[in-house]
């Protein structure tokens, strides 16, 4: 990039290369690239390698990446290994944070306001929904916090998140997934459908799931 286009690569470029190599299955090449980077790899890069190694089932690389992640970025170690209970929030600080969130997201995503308003009206329903991350579906030997983190970014959730920020309110979203949807994503998407008031249709490799008002057409049997 520098020689041909006069662009000095930043960390995001290095991260992009790692992502591309890793997703196409070239984990060794990705590791080699990281090892030969002219700058010190950041925590994001090692985190990407952790995800990619889990994706492709490379346990050795996963262990190494986690170790490097902890050593290069001590703050990650605290998050992963020393979970701190969330402080109890008071009404005034919560309102301030909510306002900040609304302000922040309204600038980025024009449709967020409608969704958030829907959410406020569904507070009671959310409490009744009973969602908690079901880490049974994380089939890795990692601690509880890491398992919860691993569940958050499954491909169907990313697709839905993108759909929510890219389409008007009440638009039906249709997602196709190549594998069987896991139980935790199934539960989470049910609650999301209730919050946003949209029908979320997921077609996995077995069947269709129509999520609407917190209920799925499969009756939680798939």
């Amino acid at each position: 990039m520098k020689n041909d286009y006069g662009i000095v690569p930043g960390y995001e470029h290095y991260l992009g290369v790692v992502d591309v190599l890793g997703k196409s299955g070239h984990l060794n090449e990705a590791v080699e690239f990281v090892d030969n980077m002219p700058v010190e790899p950041t925590a994001e890069i090692w985190e990407a390698l952790v995800n990619l190694s889990r994706l492709h089932g490379d346990i050795e690389l996963e262990d190494r990446a986690e170790e490097m992640l902890a050593s290069f970025d001590p703050s990650r170690e605290r998050v992963d290994k020393l979970p701190v209970p969330l402080p109890k929030r008071h009404s005034v600080p919560n309102m301030l944070q909510v306002n900040n969130k609304v302000s922040e997201y309204r600038c980025l995503n024009p449709y967020k306001g409608n969704r958030y308003e829907n959410f406020k009206g569904l507070n009671g329903q959310m409490r009744e929904a009973g969602y908690v991350p079901d880490t049974r579906y994380v089939l890795h030997d990692i601690d509880q916090e890491a398992k919860e983190q691993a569940l958050m970014y499954h491909s169907e959730r990313l697709a839905i998140a993108y759909g929510l920020i890219s389409t008007p309110a009440r638009t039906t979203l249709r997602i196709i997934k190549n594998l069987r949807i896991c139980g935790d994503c199934h539960n989470a998407i049910k609650i999301m459908s209730m919050i946003v008031g949209r029908e979320l249709i997921v077609r996995d490799n077995k069947r269709f799931h129509h999520f609407r008002d917190g209920i799925c057409s499969c009756g939680d049997y798939w």
């Binding site: 991260l15 992502d19 591309v20 997703k23 990407a48 990619l52 994706l55 089932g57 490379d58 346990i59 969330l86 929030r89 919560n94 997201y105 980025l108 995503n109 959410f119 507070n123 959310m126 409490r127 969602y131 908690v132 089939l139 890795h140 958050m152 970014y153 499954h154 491909s155 169907e156 959730r157 990313l158 697709a159 839905i160 998140a161 993108y162 759909g163 929510l164 920020i165 890219s166 389409t167 979203l173 249709r174 997602i175 196709i176 997934k177 190549n178 594998l179 609650i191 919050i195 249709i201 077609r203 077995k206 069947r207 269709f208 799931h209 129509h210 057409s217 009756g219 049997y221 798939w222």
Partner: protein, 622 residues
């Protein structure tokens, strides 16, 4: 067209009317002629009606032919020539049944029936596959002492073969004292079309060489459509070839994957047509060489709808559904020719695989605006498309408005309901199908069993399986057994599912075993799952699915050492787990995400959004 009196002719003269016959094309034109001959009384004129019938039966316009038939009723002289003219129009036209009706009217009115009449009505019976009527006509012509007429015997052979009764055709053939090329060709064609290629070849070999003609050779080659060596042998032995011969050989090469030979033939062909190009495109498409196929398509001087269809089909068969859809839109934009039913079937299949509901709705609207009937395959494709695009309600609507449903429509609907988890509705539909005496087939039961499996309807699934065997006498295939294993496994009846497999009368394949393994994974059944997984790995050491499922069973039981062992073996054997991938289409553009994906241009916003959602949920919960 204006009809008026000519002052130089008497008011009831036929001349002004006759001179205008050649200008008639539409119903409006006919109405004027009709009015004139009624008011002038010329409807009773034998001379005028003869000229009218002769003129109109030589036309290609349907209203004129129907009017000729109408005028025939006014004649009392029973001229068989005129009757035959009208019958011929129908037997060769769009409504061959009318030829049968007219033949009956001839008999009823006592009009003399000659051998031409018989030949024409037999052709109509052939086209309509009316074997019962054909048999009656066969008996009648014997009574008329036409039983030994060569032309009529040939017609009988053709009729019986077209109706699927090649044995009866062979009896006629064997009784013939004199046979000609048409006799042999019709019989060989009958054998070829009914799949009895060996009998066809025997007849071909016994045929006098002097009677063989191009039709004979072409017919035989077409019968070897999936046997390259046999077709090639015949092709090389042909004393002469025509364009059809070359195209048939190309078609055989395409079906058999012999595209190098096809390419050589294509380059040597003295003349090519759109069929030649279509065969080449089809052949390369079948081999997965869509780029070569597309190159040929682009090189075509003149294209037709068939060439578009084969190119689109090649794209769809190789997973290039988006390209198929693009080609469909090119066809619409160019407007050189219009899509036919096959085009829409292919297009809807592509849309179904893409899951693009907006495109599906566009196509459906196009069909409605252009008066395409959704009966038949189009209806099946529409139902299937809507079901696979997630709109089961619209699929149900399409199904309901189809007036004449066949088994395929029911199958598509039941299958769609199955993957949408609407097992009870699917089961009810199956019962309705039974009530209406629509004969179910293998696919019907695969759909119903799948529906039962997805809905946890174990009892109903067993009932359907037994109905299939005992009532409909359908021998269960591997897929049916696999469905039963799935029904039992999903419901947690692991031991019963394993026992079911052991009792299967046919050898279970990997799919059946993997179905059981998946159930073991869901219900964390290690004792059965471990054995099944190891068995599958021994059978196919390179299928990563078995390893992943076994690893997941170990992981669900926190047997981490076993997990590591399996993953290590996978790595040693260079096997990779298929990563989770999801697609969503926004404003016509598909967006793909892998687990933990950060490559999307809006990755930051996406992750922020997800984090926000998770925080909202956590805040609410805690």
């Amino acid at each position: 067209m204006g009809v008026c009196s000519n002052l130089n002719q008497p008011w009831n003269s036929i001349h002004p009317t006759v001179t205008l016959f050649r200008y008639c094309k539409t119903q409006a034109d006919i109405n004027q002629i009709h009015a004139r001959i009624i008011t002038t009384g010329l409807i009773r004129s034998s001379l005028l009606t003869t000229k009218l019938i002769i003129s109109f039966t030589s036309s290609q316009h349907t209203p004129l032919i129907k009017f000729a038939r109408y005028v025939l009723n006014y004649r009392n002289d029973g001229d068989p020539f005129l009757w035959n003219l009208v019958i011929k129009c129908f037997s060769h036209g769009e409504e061959p049944i009318e030829a049968v009706v007219l033949f009956c009217l001839m008999l009823e009115k006592g009009v003399f029936v000659d051998k031409f009449s018989f030949s024409l009505v037999l052709k109509a019976c052939s086209r309509l596959q009316l074997v019962n009527e054909g048999v009656q006509i066969h008996g009648l012509l014997r009574k008329f002492e036409f039983g030994c007429d060569l032309v009529l015997q040939n017609c009988l052979i053709c009729m019986y073969c077209k109706c699927g009764c090649v044995e009866l055709g062979r009896r006629v053939f064997d009784e013939m004292i004199v046979r000609d090329s048409v006799s042999f060709n019709s019989m060989i064609d009958g054998y070829v079309k009914s799949g009895k290629i060996g009998l066809g070849r025997d007849l071909f070999d016994s045929m006098p060489v002097e009677l063989r003609n191009l039709i004979t050779w072409n017919c035989m080659i077409s019968g070897y459509g999936d046997r390259f060596e046999s077709a090639w042998e015949l092709f090389r032995e042909m004393p002469e070839r025509d364009l059809i011969s070359w195209n048939l050989m190309l078609d055989c090469c395409a079906k058999c994957g012999e595209m190098e030979v096809a390419n050589d033939l294509f380059n040597k062909m003295p003349k090519r047509d759109v069929i030649s190009w279509a065969n080449m495109i089809d052949g390369y498409g079948r081999l997965g060489c869509v780029d070569i196929a597309r190159g040929l398509f682009d090189d075509m001087g003149e294209r037709d709808v068939v060439s578009y269809n084969v190119m689109m089909a090649g794209y769809v068969q190789n997973g290039h559904c988006k390209e198929a859809l693009e080609l469909f839109h090119v066809m619409l934009r160019e407007r050189k020719f219009y899509p036919d039913h096959t085009t829409f079937v292919i297009t809807l299949s592509a849309i179904a695989q893409l899951g693009n509901i907006d495109e599906g709705i566009f196509v459906h609207r196009y069909l409605e605006e252009n008066n395409f009937m959704v009966e038949g395959k189009l209806g099946v494709s529409l139902i299937n498309m809507y079901a696979k695009c997630g709109s089961i309600e619209i699929a149900m609507h399409v199904f309901e408005i189809i007036k004449e449903k066949n088994a395929d429509h029911w199958n598509a609907m039941i299958g769609g309901l199955a993957v949408h988890g609407l097992g009870e509705i699917a089961f009810d539909l199956f019962i309705e199908m039974e009530r209406l005496c629509v004969q179910p087939d293998d696919i019907t039961f695969i759909g119903v069993l799948n529906a039962c499996g997805h809905a946890g309807m174990v009892k109903e699934g067993i009932i359907c399986f037994e109905i299939m065997r005992r009532i409909h006498k359908l021998e269960p295939k591997l897929q049916h057994y696999g469905c039963m294993v799935d029904i039992l496994g999903r419901a947690g009846h692991i031991e019963e599912a394993a026992r079911f497999i052991q009792d299967m009368p046919i050898e279970p394949n990997d799919v059946v075993w993997r179905t059981l393994l998946s159930a073991c994974k869901i219900y964390e059944n290690l004792s059965i799952g471990e054995d099944v997984a190891k068995y599958l790995i021994r059978r196919d050491p390179h299928n990563s699915g078995s390893y992943v499922l076994l690893s997941n069973i170990y992981a669900s039981l926190s047997m981490w050492d076993c997990v590591r062992n399996v993953r290590t073996i996978m790595k040693e054997r260079e096997l990779e787990k298929i990563p989770g991938c999801s697609w969503i289409e926004i404003e016509g553009a598909p967006h793909e995400f892998l687990v933990g994906d950060r490559l999307h241009p809006q990755a930051k916003e996406i992750y922020s959004s997800l984090d926000m959602w998770h925080n909202i949920i956590r805040d609410v919960m805690f």
